[in-house]
């Protein structure tokens, strides 16, 4: 397993480093690809990426833990990212949260995102790469049902 992981990561590193003026500039793209492939950035992955870029594990861990997008554990549930920034608040997202969390319980993880750029047609949510807007309670419930 670890050997396979290392081989995959080596390929990802080689692909990105080739495009960089300075190798460590490839770190975020590498982490994105690793997460896309495995659903998270594991401790083994951190160790191997650090070795590949000649960085310390602490440096790579520091980057992984800084950014909201990177996960150290895979998510057990499908994820809906619900925008709770000001413009979606002004359009009533807060009134939907309790009901959505209840409907999603055990089936879908509702995460908060700050702004999807759909600020005149909120409340808005992101599921995978698909955007959804003008959500009300029934539409959000349907979204949760589809994602589960």
């Amino acid at each position: 397993m670890v050997a396979q992981l290392e081989e995959t990561i080596d390929m990802i590193i080689a692909r990105h480093v080739a495009q960089e003026d300075v190798a460590r500039g490839a770190l975020l793209p590498i982490l994105h690809d690793v997460q896309e492939q495995y659903g998270h950035v594991s401790e083994d992955a951190v160790r191997h990426i650090a070795a590949g870029l000649n960085l310390t594990r602490a440096e790579v861990h520091g980057v992984v833990s800084f950014y909201h997008d990177y996960r150290k554990e895979p998510s057990a549930l499908p994820i809906i990212k619900l925008c709770r920034a000001e413009a979606c608040k002004a359009r009533g997202v807060e009134a939907l949260v309790a009901g959505a969390e209840q409907a999603a319980m055990g089936k879908v993880a509702i995460e908060t995102v700050y702004c999807l750029g759909l600020c005149a047609v909120g409340p808005a949510a992101l599921v995978g790469d698909a955007v959804h807007a003008r959500l009300d309670a029934p539409k959000l419930a349907a979204l949760i049902g589809d994602a589960a």
Binding site: V22, H32, D69, E86, A87, A90, V113, C119, A120
Partner: protein, 490 residues
């Protein structure tokens, strides 16, 4: 066969435009996916022979094709569009975003051709003459920034486009990237020519998957046109603070997105220590027009030291929300009431927040304020990226003030103490106020803390969080003091 035009902007997609387009194709129509006009309340908007059909669903397809569905008349003559002064969004709604022929036929690449003909020094002169100021929020003159980079010797220089549009109520960058991506790339290529940089990087937030796809396709499609200049698309990782230019640079270097102290300025020591132009999407997107028409033509728009046009974004609880590009000088009240039509809920407007989560809350009594960097600064407010969030009279301003601090705590990079700790302590004090305990004393404490954050923080995140907090307390004091009545009763 009728040609049906439907946007493939994220707003349209989020409201079912793909299913709608498929329904039109099933009915035998030919569908063109174009950019969005920016009338978001009408999306998905269907356009046939120039006539617009708003909020269309699959059920409306037959009636629309038969020509007997309710319509808004000519889209281009709709008052929301006709009253704008579109320079940056001149092609919005009219072209297929990734179609190179559409772009060229609508004036694309004319700015780059002109720049190549007149050479770097003349390009700098035109950009300086345009009076263009950084559209990301700080309002620093773009031409001066470019001149500094041009005048710094180095073996490598960079053009970095800040597309980390994280402010709530802003979507103009997203619309440029999804609707007219070649314009942004053209602006970057012109910047590269002006300062002697061979490489461009777009730092695009991960919350914009559609913009990422379009920009990646666009840079491949036009590589031969902008060569030898190259553009790379880099995706952020969900950190709001990376919209701050120095933390963005750290992120591009594979580091934690922590803010750097300035000096050195990025123009002198930027990405990997090399001289770097770092500009917002809208600043770079304004450049092709400026080169094509001349700096003086751009400077003829606007007021005072705020030259040109601003793509204003009407958002939140607003009836006619969307993208409204207009010369500086228009008042806030005209934007919110005349153009935006007031609230979507039909209730009275109570407050607007201008400039995103770090912008001030402004009461209706200040709606005479003209859109102008200096006028806003004088009123303790910011234009920022020109997003306007409208709130009706149901808004609880204590809650919004607390949210500003909560947001700062969640997104602080942790480098400087006023921001890292001030936001958390501020949230705790605000909770005391919300609970109605020692309201007067705690408001004084928040005011004191705000001073520290404003003057002691390294960047705008900690430094500007006091704007929404203090403006909420100043202009909507009754929301905070209602609870002191409760306190007296206890």
């Amino acid at each position: 066969m009728k040609t049906v035009r439907i946007s493939d902007d994220a707003v349209a997609l989020a409201l079912g435009a793909d299913a709608l387009a498929a329904a039109f194709e099933r009915a035998g129509a030919s569908v063109e996916r174009v950019s969005s006009w920016g009338m978001h309340w009408l999306e998905p908007l269907v356009e046939i022979d120039g006539i617009g059909y708003g909020n269309a669903t699959s059920d409306d397809v037959d009636a629309i094709l038969a020509g007997n569905a309710p319509n808004i008349g000519k889209v281009s003559e709709h008052p929301f569009i006709a009253r704008q002064q579109r320079l940056t969004f001149v092609r919005a709604g009219k072209t297929r975003p990734l179609d190179l022929d559409d772009y060229k036929a609508a004036g694309g690449w004319a700015g780059l051709e002109k720049a190549r003909a007149i050479g770097p020094e003349a390009v700098l002169e035109q950009v300086i003459a345009s009076g263009l100021r950084g559209r990301g929020g700080a309002g620093f003159p773009t031409g001066i920034k470019w001149k500094t980079v041009a005048g710094t010797d180095a073996d490598q220089k960079y053009i970095v486009c800040n597309a980390d549009e994280g402010d709530s109520a802003t979507f103009a960058d997203r619309m440029v990237m999804e609707g007219d991506p070649y314009m942004l790339i053209e602006g970057m290529a012109i910047a590269g020519l002006a300062v002697g940089a061979g490489k461009g990087v777009v730092y695009l937030r991960s919350e914009y998957p559609d913009a990422i796809k379009k920009m990646r396709a666009a840079v491949q499609n036009c590589a031969h046109i902008i060569a030898p200049f190259t553009v790379d698309i880099r995706v952020g990782a969900g950190a709001y603070v990376c919209g701050e230019e120095t933390s963005l640079l750290n992120s591009l270097e594979g580091r934690r997105g922590e803010v750097r102290a300035k000096p050195p300025l990025p123009a002198i020591k930027g990405l990997f220590g090399k001289p770097t132009v770092i500009n917002n999407v809208l600043s770079l997107a304004a450049v092709p027009w400026i080169l094509e028409h001349g700096g003086a033509a751009y400077a003829a728009y606007g007021m005072g030291r705020s030259k040109g046009t601003m793509p204003v974004q009407l958002a939140g609880n607003v009836k006619y929300g969307g993208l409204y590009e207009i010369a500086f000088g228009i008042t806030l009240g005209e934007l919110v009431n005349d153009i935006g039509g007031g609230t979507a809920s039909g209730r009275p407007v109570r407050a607007v927040q201008v400039g995103g989560p770090l912008g001030a809350y402004i009461p209706v009594s200040q709606f005479g304020l003209p859109f102008d960097y200096e006028a806003f600064a004088a009123a303790d407010a910011l234009i920022g990226h020109a997003g306007i969030t409208v709130f009706d009279d149901n808004v609880d301003m204590k809650g919004m003030a607390r949210f500003a601090l909560e947001f700062c705590a969640a997104e602080s990079c942790g480098k400087c103490t006023p921001c890292r700790l001030g936001s958390v302590r501020g949230m705790e004090v605000m909770d005391e106020i919300i609970a109605g305990r020692d309201v007067g004393k705690n408001i004084a404490l928040i005011e004191d803390l705000s001073e520290t954050m404003k003057f002691g923080s390294l960047c705008a995140l900690g430094g500007f969080t006091p704007y929404p907090v203090m403006s909420a307390i100043k202009h909507f004091r009754e929301d905070f003091e209602n609870d002191s009545a409760m306190e007296a009763a206890e």
